[in-house]
C-alpha cells in the first residue's frame, strides 16, 4: 500500500496547505480576493479531510500495526498524521460552525491566523516524517532537531505532563462555556437603563 499512500497524501497535503494559506491571507486581509478565497475554504477543508482520511487508512495498511508501531519513525509519523487529520477536521468544523464570524474582530482573525500557521507546521512535520519513512529524508528534520525534536526518537510525554494536559483539555472548554454563559447573562447595551 506504500505507493498508494504516497499518491493519496498529495491531496490532503495540497488542500490543507492551500487552506492554511487562505486562512492566513483572510486573517490579514478584508479585500475581495481574500473574501473570494474564503468562500471555497470550507469546501477545501472538507475535501482535504476526506482525502486525508483515505490517505491515513492507506498509511495504516503499509505495514502491520505491530511493525509500524515498533519503530520510532513509524510511531512519530502515525502520531503526526493522526494529529493532522484531527486538527484539520476540527478547523473545518470550526470554520463551518462559526461562519463569517470567524473573521470578525482582531482577536478572531488572530486566532484563525494562528490556527492556519499551526496546521501548516503540523503538516510539514507529518510530511517530513513520511519522507524519512519512505527513505527520502529532508533537511527539515535538522531544523526540527534544533528545536529539540529528534525524528528518530519516539515522541511521548511523561505521566505528570499527561496529567497537566488532561487538566488543560478540561479547562479550555470549561472556560469557553463559562464565558458564553456570562455573556448570555449580560443584558445588551442600553437595556439596563430602560
Amino acid at each position: 500500500m506504500g505507493p498508494y499512500h504516497a499518491i493519496m497524501v498529495h491531496f490532503p497535503v495540497a488542500l490543507w496547505t492551500v487552506a492554511a494559506g487562505i486562512i492566513i491571507f483572510r486573517g490579514v486581509s478584508e479585500g475581495p480576493l481574500a473574501r473570494a478565497f474564503d468562500r471555497v475554504l470550507v469546501s477545501l477543508l472538507f475535501i482535504g479531510a476526506a482525502t486525508g482520511l483515505i490517505a491515513y487508512v492507506l498509511g495504516q495498511l503499509v505495514w502491520s500495526p505491530d511493525t509500524l508501531q515498533a519503530t520510532p519513525l513509524g510511531r512519530n509519523h502515525m502520531m503526526a498524521a493522526t494529529w493532522s487529520l484531527f486538527y484539520w477536521a476540527a478547523v473545518l468544523f470550526l470554520r463551518w460552525r462559526t461562519g463569517e464570524r470567524a473573521w470578525e474582530g482582531a482577536i478572531n482573525r488572530l486566532i484563525m491566523v494562528v490556527l492556519g500557521a499551526l496546521g501548516a507546521g503540523l503538516l510539514a512535520i507529518t510530511g517530513t516524517l513520511g519522507g524519512h519513512l519512505h527513505g527520502a529524508p529532508a533537511y527539515l528534520s535538522e531544523i526540527l532537531r534544533m528545536l529539540g525534536l529528534d525524528v528518530y526518537q519516539t515522541y511521548y510525554v511523561p505521566n505528570g505532563v499527561l496529567a497537566v494536559l488532561a487538566i488543560v483539555i478540561v479547562a479550555m472548554p470549561a472556560l469557553a462555556i463559562a464565558a458564553a454563559r456570562e455573556l448570555a447573562a449580560t443584558p445588551p447595551h442600553g437595556e439596563a437603563g430602560k
Binding site: 502491520s64 505491530d66 511493525t67 508501531q69 515498533a70 519503530t71 520510532p72 502515525m78 502520531m79 493522526t82 494529529w83 484531527f86 486538527y87 476540527a90 478547523v91 468544523f93 470550526l94 460552525r97 462559526t98 464570524r101 470567524a102 470578525e104 482577536i107 486566532i111 494562528v114 490556527l115 519513512l133 527513505g135 528545536l147 529539540g148 525534536l149 529528534d150 528518530y152 526518537q153 519516539t154 515522541y155 511521548y156 510525554v157 511523561p158 505521566n159 505528570g160 505532563v161 499527561l162 497537566v164 494536559l165 488543560v168 483539555i169 478540561v170 479550555m172 472548554p173 472556560l175 469557553a176 462555556i177 463559562a178 464565558a179 458564553a180 456570562e182 455573556l183 449580560t186 447595551h189
Partner: protein, 461 residues
Amino acid sequence: MLRRRTAILVVTGLFFAALLLSLLTHSTGVVRNDPARNIWIPAELTMPLQLQVAFNDTQIYFRYRWPAREPHVLTDLLRYSDGKWQRQLRTPIGSDPEGIAEDRLAMMLDDGSVPEFQRYGGYITVGANMRDFTGSGADAAHRRKYLPATRKDPGDWYSIADAATLDAQRRAGYFLDLWHWRAHLSNPLGRSDDQHVAWYRLYDSGETLFFSNWDADKGQPRWMFDPEHGGVRALRWEDVPAARANAKEHYYLREDVAVPFDPDHEWREGDAIPGQVLREAGDSRAEIRVHGQGRWADGYWDVTLVRALDTGHPLEDKVLRDQGVYTVALSVHRDARASRWHYVSLPLQVGLAREADLVATRFTGNAPDWTTVETRDITLFYPGQVSWPHLTGARHAGSRYIAKGVPVKYRHKESQLARYGIEMEFDREIRRQWWLTLVAGVLLIVSFVFSVGRLCRLREG
C-alpha cells in the same frame, strides 16, 4: 465578569503552554537504568575512533585511536576477604562500580565470504535471546555470537547445523576473523587474542593467552606475584584504582614470572591477585601482535595491531591480498564495561591499495610512516538489544530492505541506530506512553478548537 477577549487569550495561552510543556519534556520519564532487567544506558551514545591501515609485502597494520577518560586494565580479581579467598569475577551490568573490567577493542574482518556482513556488520552475529539481553535467563551465558547460516533456524540458537555442513561452510570461508585486543588479558604480552566467529565465537587453535588462576577445589589462587621479583605477593584492594590508572606493573600475572601460591603466607584482608594468568600463546592463536606498545595517554588509547597477510591458517584467519577489498566492523569496551555494553561500528570497507571506504597504504620496510597513511574517522554507537532475527523479522519495517540486500548505512546513521537500540530496550513502556500521548494530543486539539470556536461565535455587547 469573564470577558470573551480574556477567555480567548486564556484558552490560547493554555493551549500553547501545554504544547511547550510537551515539547520540553518529551521522550523523558521512561528510559532509566534497570539492573533487574539487564538494562543500563550509557550517558554517551556514540564515540569516535580513528583508524589507519597500512601493509607491506607480508604484514598488515591496523592502528586504532580512541578516547577513554581513564584506562581500565584490570579484570577478574581474586580477593582475600573475611578470612578466605573469593573470586570477584562478574559481568557488570553497565560500568563496574569498582572499575574492574578491562578496556577492549575488537575487529571482525571478512573477505566477502560472508556477504551479509558487508551490508550489516556485527548485527548478523547477534541471535535471539542472547546472553545479557533482557529476559534471556540465567542459562544464557553460552548464547554468544554465531553466523545465521550455521543454524537451521537463524532465530533459534540451538538449531545448529550438522557437523558436515559446518565443516563445508568453514572451507567455503563462511566465518569472520575476530581480532580481540584486551588491556589486561593480551596487551601485557604484546598480543591481541585471535578468534573467529562461525557457529560460535571460537578461539583460534593453539595455546590460550591466559588461563584461570582459581583453584576451585581448594578455594584459593594457583599463582601469585613473585616477592623476589617485585617485592609483593599480591595487590592491595585499596591500590586497585591506582594500579588501574598507572598500568605499569603488578596488575597482571605472567606464568613465567609468577610463583605457586603460598597458602601458608599470612594473607591480609584486602589482598588481591589477578584471576587469570597470562602466558605466551602459540600457533594460530598468537598470530596478531601489538606493534610497539598499546598505550593509554592523555585520554586516548593508541593501539596498533599487526598480522601476516596470510597466516597459513585459512580456516581461522582471513587471507588478505594486495588490491583486495575487505570488510571490518569494530567494537570498543571502555569505562569498565563488558559484555554487550560496548560501542560498535557499522561495516567499513578497507581496500588494500584499492578504492574503498578506507584505503590501506602500501609501504616498504618494517613499519609504516603513519603521517602518510589515510586516517578514517569512525563513529561507534551503543547498539542496545537488537538481534538479527528481529531485523529480518516482520516486526522490523526494514526487513524487506534487508531481504533485498540494501545495506544498513543506506537507511540508518549511527546516532539513529543508538536511539533505536535504546527504544528496543523499552519498547513496551514507550509504546504505552506514546499511545497515551497520541490520544492526549487528539483531545487537546479537539478541546482547543472547540473552545476557540465557541468563543469566536460569541458577540460581546
